[in-house]
Symmetry: C3
């Protein structure tokens, strides 16, 4: 580890990984924006058309993630530790996976946003993904470590908001929803959206562990 860090000082950094991570971050921002506009659409059939479009964005994300792994195999020298690149790519990919998973279930289960929970989750996820994009875009030069740290703190705080939102939504569901089947459907979806905020926190943790080494 120490030896690797010393070597890195003398070796040119490879820009390809930063380019790819920035592409993933940009894609995630677009996905969360699209998710938000879908959830704010009152016409449910229009909503579902938008939600279904997240699938192709998730596939696009898979391809960039795959490209990161291919580059990892071809580049003997990497600008970050190999395991950090792997962990960052995997955790970013999880965000796209779970956001698409939740979107699919909203369409499949024909769920309405009775408690406003979906709108609130869309806002939390959008803020969280944008904070991640700021952090990712600052990784390249590592000059603005304070901005990266601030973004990670924001993501952690939004994960707490997601936790509280899940708790409150479940309380409302149990208090007002008579149908156990409807509870099962809504629970499945809001838990999955809360998992999206967990996955955002995982990304923030990976980024924090990266900048710890370079600070």
């Amino acid at each position: 580890m120490a030896l690797g860090s010393i070597l890195k000082i003398f070796l040119p950094k490879d820009k390809v990984f930063y380019n790819l991570f920035e592409q993933v971050a940009k894609n995630l921002v677009q996905m969360s924006d699209m998710f938000g506009s879908a959830i704010n659409e009152r016409d449910l059939s229009k909503r579902d058309v938008i939600l279904k479009r997240l699938e192709e964005m998730e596939h696009k994300n898979d391809e960039v993630t795959h490209e990161i792994f291919i580059q990892l195999g071809q580049n003997f020298i990497t600008p970050l530790d190999r395991e950090d690149i792997h962990a960052l790519a995997t955790s970013l990919d999880d965000i796209a996976d779970y956001l698409w998973g939740a979107s699919k279930r909203i369409v499949n289960y024909e769920v309405e946003d009775t408690y406003g929970a979906l709108v609130s989750f869309a806002e939390i996820i959008s803020k969280s993904v944008k904070a991640i994009a700021v952090a990712i875009n600052s990784l390249r030069d590592m000059k603005n470590l304070e901005a990266i740290t601030r973004s990670c703190v924001t993501v952690n705080s939004l994960e707490n908001d997601g936790d509280d939102l899940l708790d409150n939504t479940m309380l409302k569901l149990f208090a007002s929803q008579k149908s156990a089947v409807e509870i099962i459907k809504h629970k499945d979806i809001v838990q999955m959206l809360e998992t999206v905020t967990d996955k955002c926190e995982d990304v923030a943790n990976v980024i924090e562990s990266i900048i710890i080494k370079y600070a």
Copy 2:
């Protein structure tokens, strides 16, 4: 990491780990075959007798996995990176755990395969575990990297099939099953079977990250 890779070229490889991983792979194939023959058994009491036999196979698997960890403690030089051996053993063990967990719930909840979902999951899991066995058996000499890569791609594709199967099964359940309690039981089981395919994908990812280093 680089230093470790260079050292490995000059040191004799230790065969014990490959032997143990091949044993685990063989055991997993047997478990998935036994699961398949149980699920295809129409007599539910006969089915449950077969399903319960998966417990001893899961215990047997635990023992081999434990042996891998003991060997990891005793061998200063390992043929693969220590963390890769650990990750591979752990993720393979997860497959056995979740397959036994799902089997136990099928017995406990006295669930019938109303939608044919269990038969379909048994097929997907069997194919996935067999692809993993091919990849594991090719790890020893690393000569046929293409076969390993192809197996990993197969596992990834089968995980997608598992995802779709879960979605379709839930749609059928919500459309036709009136009893919320029955939905809870079936959901628990099919989610666990889908998790088996996720765990197979985790194994494929570990294997891919291993061959990236040796390619």
Copy 3:
């Protein structure tokens, strides 16, 4: 890795990490004791007052965990491998998170301990956390490896007990509880308590992988 291990023999060990880990272990023992006394309280409103106090203990734990990460950034030489310190801190933190998560749900869902499952889980978790504390307290000098190993075996065995307890509780729930909504609530809580025992096992696995390197 090998180089790192050799270096460590010649370098003074840093005590700060052991101090922090021992603080976390002590805090977890207090949390599990408090959880146990809450669950054994027959007056549900008194029970809930105690359960809510776990939140501040969870926050306190977050702070110590955060301090570990800060120290990890400031100490170039660490007494254990950096990734082991990170994995140990993260997995210990998960125990506190899930125990507080389950406590919160017991309060929110106004659940009674109909089947005695909560009392039994409190006992298992308390034993498991205490075994972890023994192992953590022995990490500092690595003299009593046998005590560490024995503690880890205990934690693994208690995780199996947690698994069986979950299964039996679900069987009782499905057999006697008519309300699907009540099943959903109880299932959520007992699954989360079983996850606490899983997280304890994760900690034991991290500790075992650490002592493998130092044995």
